[in-house]
Amino acid sequence: MNIEKMTAVEIGKKIKGKELSAPEVAEALIGNFRDREFINAYTEFDADTIKENARKAQEAIDRGEAGSVLAGVPIGVKDNISTKGELSTCASKILEGYKPPFDATAVDKLKKAHMFVAGKMNMDEFAMGSTSETSAYGPVRNPWNPDHVPGGSSGGAAAAVAAGAAICALGSDTGGSIRQPASYCGVTGFKPTYGVVSRYGLIAYASSLDQIGPVAADALDCAAIMDVISGIDANDSTTISLDQKESFLDSMTGDIKGRIIGVPEECFGEGVEDDVKAGVESVIKELEKCGAKAKPIHLPFIRYAVPTYYIIATAEASSNLSRFDGVKYGYRSKDSNSIDDLIINSRSEGFGPEVRKRILLGTFVLSSGYYDAYYNKALKMKRMIIDGFEDAYKDCDVIICPTAPMTAPRLGSSLSDPMKMYLSDIFTVSVNLAGLPGLSVPCGFDKKNMPIGAQIIGAAGRDKTVLNMGYAYQKVTDHHMKRPEV
């Protein structure tokens, strides 16, 4: 059985039609995982637990309990999303051995839909990075070329889906962490509008920007997963409800006639690789053939997005990550003589260099005397970015631009040039700052045969419009079906 050739929705339908069972899918997945261990996509993949989870899901399906179209389908979960009684470490030494006493709301919803958790996925430590190289479990490799990074921070999720080592996965996206690795690995990744998916149980990096979303084979799978995980949550006061008249999946009509695509000039200029430009322009052409209209627009504020993002994200991170002090759970430094030493040593030894750097930066921008110069200014800039997008959406339904200005770089090349790495987030971070929905769809390959991703961005709450645009594109192209030789 070639589960790597099937989408989650297809597998779900076969399970419903009794052509397949959850345990059979689990067996196939475990086999694929073993053949692809070199990509290092998982922080935890326990075959026995997965078989047990599959058996329980199948029992519920056999009892005829209501589930989703994805009942019986395994799903990988990024290691920063809490799974009850299973390691949830953010790929960090400081959370070594930590098993949460509760499920994240998104995971709880997966289980209620009779999907089952199949492993925890590798990532940049605390989701801080664009390459999945900062993990305490070692770097993830890109299945299209193991010398290249898979992107990050949800690199394990994207690499596993591309390689057939996962059917689909839950990732998290703070500044592009779902869309950029999806782009680098040639899979489909969706960041919902802020608040559409509960953050309860997502171990916070930057609370005002974090959002859980799906990484999968195509836009239909993303829509099906959104039907499972979205919705108001009494445990998260920042959740919002979208129009509930139609499910995500039912909204996937592929009809985009008359839709207006905004094409921001700023996103096709200097610094964007030619192959990437060509790939994304081909998406716009295909969509025009389907009845959409393209129109040039301007996003002049986009050049402020990266500094704004790194101030807000690191400020919140410096506070969110303060709770890891060696007192309650995770890593504790030995032989400390005072409480101050215990906290200082545990944090110095437990966090990796990228996380330490961001905590220091965030601590600095919130310090008395600097707050107005940095953090407050960044909040004002964030407001301007929100307003700027609102203006742009007066003239268009979606905006299409590259997900990243380049394709996946070689392992090791980014961390030696961090400014380049930070700047490569330019097209994704503004979407988080404005809280908008963004989808990355594969749209071809560059000369090195590395995948290119196009980003479709919608106005706040127009998640279905965005996914439907991606679906329309994938109906008439097959880039999303291409898989690397393993």
């Binding site: 999303i81 506070s319 919130l366």
Partner: protein, 481 residues
Amino acid sequence: MNKEWEMVIGLEVHVELSTKSKIFCSCTTEFGGAPNTHCCPVCMGMPGTLPVLNKEVLTRAIKAGLALNCEIEKETRFDRKNYFYPDLPKAYQISQLYKPIAHDGLVEIEVGEETKQIRIHEMHMEEDAGKLIHSDWDNETYPDYNRCGVPLLEIVSEPDFRSAAEVSAYLEKIKSLFTYLGISDCKMQEGSMRADVNLSVRKKGAAEYGTRTEMKNINSVKAIERAIESEADRQVDLLISGEKVRQETRHWNDDKRSSYAMRSKENAQDYRYFPEPDIPPMIITDEEIDEIRRNLPEFMGEKKARFVDRYGLSAYDAGLLVQNKKQADFFESVVHEGADAKATANWMIGYFAKIMKDLAIEFEDIELSAPRLSKLIGFVESGKVNRKDGIELLNMMIKGEGPDDVEKYLEEKGLFLSNDNSELEKFVLEAIEANPKAVEEYKAGKEKVVGFLVGHVMKNAKGKFNPSVVKDAMKTELKKQ
């Protein structure tokens, strides 16, 4: 304190709200409990958990803000106060700095004959921290997170106090307002009300404030008064001898009646406040504020004035009754049942107070029926029941041993005084006959012996007559002699 100097004091008062559940989760706020049994992943700050505001906390904060005559912030929000300490599991406290729920208030206090207004700078909501328990057994320190997330209001005054007496009047006033509102029990001893004292001194008439020190978490009004007097003297002594006051936090040791420096301003923490991203701003409408304002209870001052006005009580008696809302409400119920207001006030201030003192109980601890008490007061005050017997019955009632039917009980025990005049006359004549010497003395002008003769009657009649009726009858009979 030296007459040429004055003290300048500002207060930060923390009040625990008596909501059933914590401010950001559904754990109980109950005091005590085995360590770490009143907590959950949210109040223990486990990774990935999020705070969800208990709406009752916001409602109570608005009530408190209105009672302190504050402006209510229409778009209030929480901020994070970041610092590391093992009793603070998230390493930040969710508090309010930039947009506190209430600001610019005014509290009127009475000190002696004077009234004075204390300005409120702001009042905000926040979560309490846990506490650390040191074990002498193994010389380790253990955190107890039960108190984490108990809702607090912090009330920050302007530096308007000039004496310890003003400070204690203010604390009593806040306690009275908040207990009348039913939002907190404000017990300093149990830590549900705590005060930090910011104090400086200056020469009388000086325009500038001196350098201030802060004394934290002193746990009784008396101790606060002592701490203030001591600290003001210490600062004046320093300044007179040409030294400077250091800006620092000092710990008051009430047993030793002295304070020592804990940390100076150089070591002051930078709390790196920023808006709490996990809780959206709260929008409060004028309608909501008006609705809460309309339902505010009558406060102590208003109630006292009304008691004087409506029931004709003295200001002093009314003042004593309204000290405690439950007591004031009970007074009104008893009067409502028909008892005379002044008599009821006298009973509650006099007999009640003595009995409660003898039994060492508080008014809060007793359950009394207003209709039964009203009846009893009526019988005693109209002379139908002997006062001594009435008080004895009251004593039983306060202990919870009183009868269901007061009238039936008095009947059965034969405690109603007799109205039978012919019978009374027999007893009176018998007393006169038995005490010829006393009668002689009366005739010689010794009025006092009437009391002796009345006593004789009361003893023989086993108290079945009203003593004042016996006295009248006795006087009438003696005049005939």
